[in-house]
Symmetry: D2
């Protein structure tokens, strides 16, 4: 039966949010578990339905397969290089949306600004990242790439990259053992020593620091995009083990605004509807736990579709914002009995407890819009008296002894990840920022630049943040105004920016 690509793509995203227990883990992992497995170790015992995850395996270990691309190149390990045609189409489609990255590529293509850069990348391997990878290559960099998460690889995309000659070591559904094997393959390559790392979560960085200290201390720099990775870099820094400069992508305005408020505003609607196609938003009562950027985005769109939205907050400033935006700020207990939907978006643990869920009304929906896997205390629902029924992908009915049923989405994991996906346009912003950060570090190395000697964690200069925004404005046919000389003088602003202080965030 011919199933649409789209369906497969969604399926993979769904799966990627699940963890899988691995029977054996080599010694290294004992000390450094990959990030994707570390956060929520307790709830990996998951519900029975996840047994079906390995359905598309064919039994042969991926590592053992002998594969080469149509040019005879074989320094890669992907699920099946023959899938490359499908992957190429996905990459082509993604490229159309990634106008900012492509514009930057065109501007810098001739000067090959990354010639001499030898980068190990460790990120999700999806169509949009493939566009970044190919861009890095086009700008002169040599690359080896692995996945930052055992479920975050689109196999056909990895195949397409291998087909055109990139050394990709990644497939969907790696074991933990596979995971470290792939990272290892990126660092240990005869006649090739990396001088930069582009990381997402910190696993490649830590692997290098621990296993290849000589390589590590000679790095030009590290670019890290995740909160977790930044957290780990700061630990290294405090322990005086961070010997090289690193750039924190995560704190950039454009990345922040797009990956959170604007992205969640859309994805909360789409994710809920993908799970619950029979759901009508109009008239529903919803409580959002958390009025940070995620919460703000969700509240805005839910209300615009006719929901009555309540907010819970711990931070009085965010609570005051919620008030001024017209949302009632309540404790979860005050509204739990009558709301139709609970959305956890605090990033904290056990925000929605068993006690709360005991009080919910029949057919109430509970889901999570943060990356914290235990924000909903799903573990507490795995008790004798409650009956679970898998209704469809990402939807479980949990039934209380009195017949009251609660609808749990994506097993309590981030519904955006499980049930929808991040638009390529958003990824383009992140990717462009990453590319600029790599160029900044690399340029700094050749010059006696600011990053040269310092082992520190830097923010990308405000001006570059503005540059990323500028590159993406084209997609909207937006026309910027330029300051006159007189205005520059009057306001003290430079004609071409930066226009705001580094920590300006509104």
């Amino acid at each position: 039966m011919s199933t649409s690509k789209e369906f497969i793509a969604n399926k993979e995203l769904i799966d990627s949010s699940r963890e899988k227990k691995s029977p054996s883990t080599p010694s290294f992992k004992n000390s450094y578990r990959p990030r994707s497995m570390s956060t929520c170790s307790t709830d990996t015992s998951s519900c029975s339905s996840s047994a079906s995850l390995s359905e598309d395996d064919d039994g042969t270990p991926v590592r053992s397969r002998k594969q080469q691309n149509s040019s005879g190149f074989s320094d890669f390990c992907v699920k099946d290089v023959r899938l490359n045609v499908y992957g190429r189409r996905e990459i082509d489609l993604a490229e159309q949306e990634m106008t900012g990255l492509i514009a930057l590529k065109k501007q810098t293509l001739d000067s090959k600004p990354l010639r001499g850069a030898r980068i190990v990348g460790c990120t999700p391997i999806t169509a949009p990242t493939a566009v970044l990878i190919e861009t890095l290559g086009a700008l002169g960099a040599e690359l080896r790439w692995c996945a930052c998460n055992i479920y975050s690889t689109q196999n056909e995309v990895a195949a397409a990259l291998a087909e055109v000659g990139f050394s990709i070591y990644a497939w969907r559904g790696e074991s933990v053992d596979d995971f470290w094997y792939c990272i290892e393959k990126c660092f240990s390559c005869s006649n090739w020593t990396p001088n930069m790392i582009m990381d997402d979560g910190g696993d490649a960085t830590h692997f290098c620091q621990s296993k290849y200290p000589q390589v590590f201390k000679n790095l030009i720099g590290i670019v890290e995009e995740s909160a977790t990775g930044i957290h780990r870099l700061y630990k290294l820094l405090r322990g005086e083990k961070l010997l090289v400069p690193a750039i924190n992508i995560q704190g950039c305005v454009t990345k922040g605004q797009f990956d959170t408020r604007y992205s969640c505003r859309e994805s909360v609607i789409v994710s809920l509807k993908k799970c619950m196609s029979d759901l009508m938003f109009g008239g529903k009562q919803v409580v959002l736990c958390g009025y940070g950027e995620v919460g703000k985005g969700c509240c805005q769109s839910l209300r615009s579709l006719g929901c009555t939205v309540y907010v819970t907050e711990i931070d009085p400033i965010c609570a005051l914002q919620a008030c001024m935006d017209g949302f009632r700020v309540v404790k979860l207990n005050e509204v739990i009995r009558h709301v139709d939907i609970v959305i956890a978006a605090t990033g904290n643990k056990n925000v929605v407890t068993r006690e709360h869920m005991d009080k919910m009304k029949n057919m109430g929906i509970v889901c999570c819009m943060s990356s914290c896997h235990n924000e909903i205390d799903v573990q507490s629902l795995k008790s004798e008296e409650l009956k679970w029924e898998r209704i469809r992908s990402n939807v479980d009915h949990v039934r209380w002894p009195d017949g009251k049923t609660m609808v749990l989405l994506a097993s309590g994991h981030h519904i955006q990840h499980s049930c929808s996906s991040v638009p390529s346009f958003v990824t383009s912003i992140t990717a462009t920022t990453q590319l600029l950060a790599l160029m900044e570090l690399f340029k700094g190395a050749s010059a006696s630049g600011q990053y040269k000697n310092g082992a520190d964690i830097y923010m990308l200069p405000k001006k570059m943040d503005e540059y990323v925004a500028n590159l993406h404005l084209q997609a909207f046919d937006a026309h910027l105004t330029e300051l006159t000389e007189e205005q520059c003088k009057y306001s003290g602003l430079p004609k071409h920016g930066p226009f705001k202080s580094n920590h300006y965030r509104y």
Copy 2:
């Protein structure tokens, strides 16, 4: 491979909006083509991709299959009665959302108000209609049911109904010949003569009037819910051929508001995202052709997700409303070059022409939110110089010789039908209205009621419209205020309604 139920459900809805040519059509159809085929006869030659529609057929004609349910009952014809378990679950889930209908059922169950009613129904056969069918049965009616559209049957739901003993004649993908066969089977049954018709589109009504005039003139009444059906009833009335009373469900406020504005407000977002999962609404320029109820709903939600929305209108009153709601009213030609998305919602023909599409920018999206299949002139795109590529289900890329690509959704058919579905809650409102209309006609027949002698087309009394709303308010935990005696006197309003005049519509 195990595909989720949800996926199947969507697929069927998709298919249901397509037409299929039948090589032979019996004489009757020559004069009375089924509604589903009559509207847009020119564009049924469809694009090649529709050839794959019959994928789940097994080759054996459905009509020839010998089937009986677990009780040995066999007066039905469905795709496969063994699918009944899946259908039952869908019906159970739908029932949970159809609180208004179920409340009415409970209130009237004991008195069996439809005892003696013998109804032929001709509607889509989906989980929500199944809830209505079973309710009619529970209230005492005898029923025979067929589909009003060759693609609008959920086979597993039809199976579930047959399993519990309903005479269902319907399956997805009927030929036109099958279509009339099924209607015939509902009317021609030994020892059973219908006295009511519940129609959607007028095919059953016209079949009866033409083939069984004796049955027709003795009917107690007809309930019709579609604009097309109403149109056809008025033709009969003018020709003095409508010998029985009919109730027009379509004009009810609650049905109107829910099936259009509130429903489209959500479905436009979901349908677009289901087709284009990589789409980001924020910053997109969209033009809505038509600012009727559909357009109003679409504009509201699109803007709330960050789109800039333009409107085209022919009616100055609707245009003025668009202005007051903050939308620029333009001619399509003024904006076609720079918009990202064109949504046709006028219900008229050739609103988006080849000339318009020639001017669109690369990767512009064109789709339709009305039931009119030729609102986008898809036919004009089927010319030599344009290359079509099916990207995924419901998404075609049409490529101009210069490389400019346009994205056409659902082959220009209604994306709500093709790519999302109507929530059961909305269907509950329609179904409750239909049930009340049947009861009203049936009661009128037994009494010397208002509908007794009149061959006319009636509106459901305002009070009943309010009653439908009332039954559905419970789902929202809404608390109505009651007029005091003093207020009744002051305002001249009856304590329990009706509170507005019959044509009040705001």
Copy 3:
């Protein structure tokens, strides 16, 4: 002291919503009290502060003053014809906004379509109505005009009209005796017999029918714009006393939408802020009693400025709309203790009772957005134990024995009338509709038209309603699309409308 014109204007509007008791009323009024006094007769004993209303009187009865304009013309009675310069400027400013009316005037000016029409008008006399009056004159009509409400006359505007030769009989603060005197002066004029009435409330119509039956039965027609007036016309019709055709302006879509939803959306904000300049909307809890057109408009803008809005309703259909729009539907008692603002907008009596107000929190605000003067039971607040304090114009503090203070705006009268004003653009729509109705009736009289013989109450044809909208679209630079011949044929719509059925109202 020089006070700005604007302040004066507001003051007058404020006053116009007050009633004044007259010690003596002539015999006619005993049977037919003017509309402005009939509705809420019980609450005219008002609070003491209204004693200051006559502050700008100079002691001399207006009727006794000998006045003539600069041309020596004296067939008028206004407060002070010398105020005409100020009035002229107001009229000029209003004219700038009344683009639709002026466009119609220009189109028809040459043909003088109202030549031969002799109209008695009875409406508020404000700058926008002055524009209408002058337009009627320019189109050939002869006019005599009086006020429909003892407080609704802008004296300087009346002066400006008298100055250019119109027979105006109206001033602000007429006694009831004056009121009927002015109407009488319009009908009783030697050598001049009216053949049309343009009424607002029905007082002129009833006066004519009762006092001048010969004139009445020879009228060409009546144009009436208020709900009350229509109500009274229907009474005449049922009593077979309406011997002439009348057109109901009130039911037109454009008038309805502009005078209610779109107008209230803005005026609720402005009126509240004019009374309470220290009020911040953000975070306020508001309950709207009534979700009709007024309530819908108010809810929309209040929420958009950060209020949490609750709704009370008696009508389940409107309640369901409120739910779908995201508002909680409650009984007033459920929220009265914690809301900051109560807005009555039902049009019914005693909707906000003493019992409710007893429960309100300190400094809670109570006001009315309907024309019903006793929607808030102000009378119940005039008891011993409550202390009233006039804080400023339109703002009273009512203090309970325990110190709890309630803020009552505009003495419970319509805050839109008391504290803000209707934009000329909105009035232009009404005025254009009135003008078209007069022309329609007048034309009908000369032809053997549809209104010729019939004593009935007509709606303005849909097409004219669309025409009014069309004339006002120009102000928005809106570009209508025109149907192609093919589309006309397909849809059955005429190329130039009407595009909707007569009772279409969405």
Copy 4:
């Protein structure tokens, strides 16, 4: 004639935005002009109508008047101490809204935390600042107070403060000479030396630094709330002349959000309507120059009332936000010909030029929502060929030779200041922040605190910012959630905050 208080209050605010030329200025001012006069010196030649500003002067110089309050106290100089009754009522009303400040006052009243503080204040003197002044007194501080702007004093409020014994030196319409006289009177007082300054704009600080260097170097600290003042403090710091610690109030989240986005969202609507009571927002085309916090607030509310809003921006990040929020980003020239309203909100100079205004359509409105007085190039309109007409307070018509008329509001000054006012609730947030800052510095002085030795400019600690928010949440009946121990541990957040990093601003 009795004019309402409200009217007077508005009048004063209007006037306060005007500058007045003073014939003689003493030597000190030559070097240090007061801030209120320094920014836009060129446009003070204003239009003729401002000549009427001194209307309520009685000819006797305020300084020469002998006044004492009812207790015989005379160490003050206000317009007329007998106005105190009116001022007291304004203060009482303001106090009701300033719940956060009053709550803090109550909590700290007993401990008299400011006993020993001797503060010179230099701020606007309005009812809300009076509440702050009285609070400072109640907490133990000794005070002397003057105005930071020659037009920003409410005379009756100053009188009320003098009446209860505060040494207030301020009146509305001071000359520049008066201005410095008043500041001098605050610093030069026998037997009293200030040890703290609470400043708004930096004039008091600079006066002290220049004239009383001994006092200056012994100060405990300075609290400054304006951007200009902060700018001037940094200049001192760089010149090593800032010998004492200062706290920057201006950068606090709560102050920032309330004084800008949330405040402007309401005031733009109210200010425009106060100037143009005949304006209808629905359907208007508006361009906002600047999408900072002011622009964001304005855009949100204007769109919600039915305007189509365009945005101009220089900063690509803000431009991208505008796109994502659904606004078209354009250059002013692209839309200037067809917009109805231009609102300047960039804070930069000559953003709306004569060239732009030449192109505007007839009756287009131009106004400013920033504090920059020359954002609209009003000077360029003062040329021969253009005719000015003052229509009413704050509204000028400027007429081009061809008759085209432009409507200029508030002479191009901030319409929020001229035409509406900041709600007391907003001022409460600022005042509470100022009070906490004073307490922080004063406490730091007595302890060997962090501010003890450092001459630097500090931000108020995040935790105090959160505290201010917390105090104001009570007004909204908002209920904060508290972190569990487990959650504190998991997230690393302290149970009682601070919950965000110091520069978090979303």
